[in-house]
């Protein structure tokens, strides 16, 4: 990205805040990974390691009353939407103070009040749901937007097709994105699709698409902004393909031996935090001591969160029976 363009298009504070969230995401997920290795996490761990710029970039581009249906590597979304490190770690430890009160695990957090949909494991299931939220905005005449994601893998599912098509026909204010991180679990792209870019799928719906460097938080932010503006203007959905690379295993138990070392080496150089620091330096918004300071700060926040989570109570057995049915429904 052209530094001059960035300087013009993104406010300094916004960039610094994105850097902070990149760092916070990294610190939080690294801590979760470490806890996982110590056997202290309940269930599996899927991280956005090396892909943090996607969630941080697009969530920063949205307004507070926009709605997000995050993908399963979008930790940044939760942080930006005000889920505390304590709440999040409580979720990973199965504590009652987590956003799902122990009912569900890991990244499956959601909260309508904070405009984040709980992730559904069944990949792509939340895409039609996101289109439906956008439909609600359109019906009510609100100028709000929905941001909803899938992976390269999830884009093979029928619900992807049905969601994209419906959103395009009705020109709904929704932005779909794909984190193309080269693999679906162990499956490389060429066994998933016969097209060079996932964005080629947008044409099938009459929807504009864009390829974006998913490791460049500024690029993600600006592409998201463009799509959001378009959606808000009533011009309908956009599809964004964020090119990136999954740097860890599919989940933390997976050594990912199927990924060529060279590929990882190559992408390591494009680490989103590294890129962000280079940018901040070029713009003279930040320097090494500053980066150090932020790194320390987020570390503290993670540790404080962990303390909260560890001191939080586990749910009690009979809580199983609560919440199958809703007593009332709100408006969001």
């Amino acid at each position: 990205m052209d530094v001059a363009v960035i300087a013009k298009e993104i406010k300094r504070d916004d960039l610094l805040q994105m850097y902070y969230y990149l760092r916070l995401t990294r610190a939080l997920e690294d801590r979760i990974t470490a806890l996982y290795r110590q056997g202290r996490i309940v269930g599996g761990v899927y991280t956005s390691h090396g892909m943090e710029a996607i969630a941080v970039g697009y969530a920063s581009a949205l307004e507070r009353d926009d709605v997000i249906a995050p993908f399963h590597r979008d930790m940044g979304v939760f942080l930006i939407r005000g889920f505390t490190t304590g709440e999040i770690l409580a979720q990973y430890l199965g504590k009652r103070t987590g956003p799902t009160k122990g009912k569900d695990g890991n990244v499956h957090m959601g909260d309508l009040k904070r405009g984040v949909f709980g992730f559904v494991s069944h990949l792509a299931d939340n895409l039609p749901v996101a289109a439906g939220a956008a439909l609600a905005f359109k019906i009510r005449g609100e100028s709000r937007v929905v941001f909803a994601g899938t992976g390269d893998g999830g884009s093979s599912r029928g619900d992807f097709h049905e969601a994209m098509n419906f959103a395009a026909v009705r020109k709904l204010p929704v932005v779909f994105f794909c984190n193309n991180n080269q693999y679906a679990y162990s499956t490389p792209l060429h066994l998933q699709m016969a097209i060079p870019n996932v964005v080629d799928r947008a044409k099938a719906y009459g929807m504009p698409g864009e390829i974006v460097d998913g490791n460049d938080v500024a690029a993600v932010y600006l592409a998201a902004k463009r799509a959001i503006v378009r959606a808000r203007a009533g011009e309908g959905p956009t599809f964004l393909e964020f090119k990136t690379m999954r740097m860890h295993g599919h989940s933390e138990h997976d050594p990912a031996k199927y990924v060529p070392r060279e590929l990882l080496e190559e992408w390591k150089k494009k680490d989103p935090i590294l890129k962000a620091e280079q940018l901040l330096k070029q713009l003279s918004y930040g320097d090494e001591p500053y980066f150090q300071e932020v790194t320390e700060r987020v570390k503290g926040e993670v540790e404080a969160g962990l303390e909260f989570a560890e001191q939080s109570p586990l749910p009690e057995g009979p809580e199983v029976l609560e919440g199958v049915f809703a007593e009332s429904a709100g408006s969001y």
Binding site: H122, P128, F137, A163, S331, Y332
Partner: protein, 332 residues
């Protein structure tokens, strides 16, 4: 002559009752809107929403692409944001295409992360119309097993109207099974004022002392017919119309069987895995001492619904089956 006209004006068919419920709820609450294939311009395959598009406009009566999963997903999203979508399946059979959205997203969202999903899926179901294996199914058995869903199935115009209104006002996902065979075959008076039939309440459609016939949907009328015939023989059937399948009204069921000591479970759904199985199990569990004979299930055999007239006639339960079973049970 004058009174007759007045009375006639208040007599409505099952299908009219459904149209009225939709119309009145849409007029009452602007959050209510409809989605489905051919429901707008065409007024729906069964003409239930004829004139609705003109009255409420294309953003409250949405003709959708042919994509049940996408439509149901979109309804979920709109419902979570605070609208009250009512989705029409053109035939209940096609609900299989939306199965994943219903069971994994709609049913679980509130339990998992507290998001209420106040929506209704209308599913025109059942046989007797020469529809064959893909236009006659009773799919309710597929959904007993997904905690978080409510299932209703009215047998009369009154219940059809009152249950649909209750379903629309319920904060949970409700599948509304409307029996196609009844659409134009039964009529009854409907109150002019607003009313609902509460979800979760069975209705004793005929009081009797000897045997409880527990049933729902089109089969209620078969049971009533059989009861009529059996009076001459001194066998007094009680006909319990479940109306709601989930959550089951155990009190009404048990109190009927406590009185009669004998139960026939009658449904049009395939025998294995139908709601009859569940009720038999609950009786055997909770009401064992009050049973004075085997619990008899009358239901079609475990085959798809066949097409040709003699096959479909053989397949569907008949009044004679109830009479035979009742005689045997009475003599037990």
């Amino acid at each position: 002559m004058a009174t007759e006209t007045t009375q006639k004006q208040q007599e409505f068919s099952y299908i009219e009752a459904i149209s009225q419920a939709l119309d009145e709820e849409m007029a009452r609450d602007e959050r209510v809107f409809l989605m489905g294939e051919d429901i707008g311009m065409y007024g729906g395959a069964f003409k239930i929403t004829e004139g609705f598009l003109q009255k409420y406009g294309e953003w409250r009566v949405l003709d959708t692409p042919l994509a049940e999963s996408g439509i149901v997903g979109a309804a979920i999203g709109a419902a979570m944001m605070g609208l009250r979508p009512v989705v029409e399946m053109q035939f209940a059979d096609f609900i299989s295409c939306a199965f994943d959205q219903i069971t994994e997203v709609a049913a679980k969202n509130h339990y998992r992360w507290g998001a209420a999903v106040p929506m209704v899926i209308r599913a025109p179901f059942g046989g007797g119309i020469h529809g064959g294996p893909f236009h006659s199914e009773c799919p309710e058995g597929w959904f007993f097993h997904s905690p978080g869903l409510k299932l209703v199935a009215p047998s009369t115009p009154y219940d059809a109207k009152g249950l649909l209104k209750a379903a629309i006002r319920d904060p949970n996902p409700v599948i509304y099974f409307e029996h196609k065979f009844l659409y134009r075959r039964i009529k009854s008076l409907l109150p002019q004022e607003d009313f609902i039939v509460p979800i979760g309440k069975a209705d004793v459609k005929r009081v009797g002392n000897d045997i409880s016939v527990i049933t729902y949907g089109a089969m209620v009328h078969l049971a009533l017919e059989a009861a009529q015939t059996l009076t001459n023989e001194g066998i007094d059937l009680e006909v319990v119309d479940l109306r709601t399948l989930i959550p089951l009204d155990k009190e009404t069921i048990y109190s009927s069987v406590r009185k009669t000591s004998k139960a026939i479970l009658l449904h049009e759904d395939n025998k294995t895995g139908g709601i009859g199985a569940e009720i038999a199990a609950r009786l055997a569990e909770d009401c064992f001492d009050c049973l004075d004979g085997p619990v008899v299930r009358i239901a079609p055999p475990d085959t798809p619904v066949p097409f040709s007239t003699p096959l479909e006639e053989f397949f569907l339960p008949k009044t004679g089956d109830i009479i035979t079973a009742a005689r045997k049970l009475a003599a037990y």
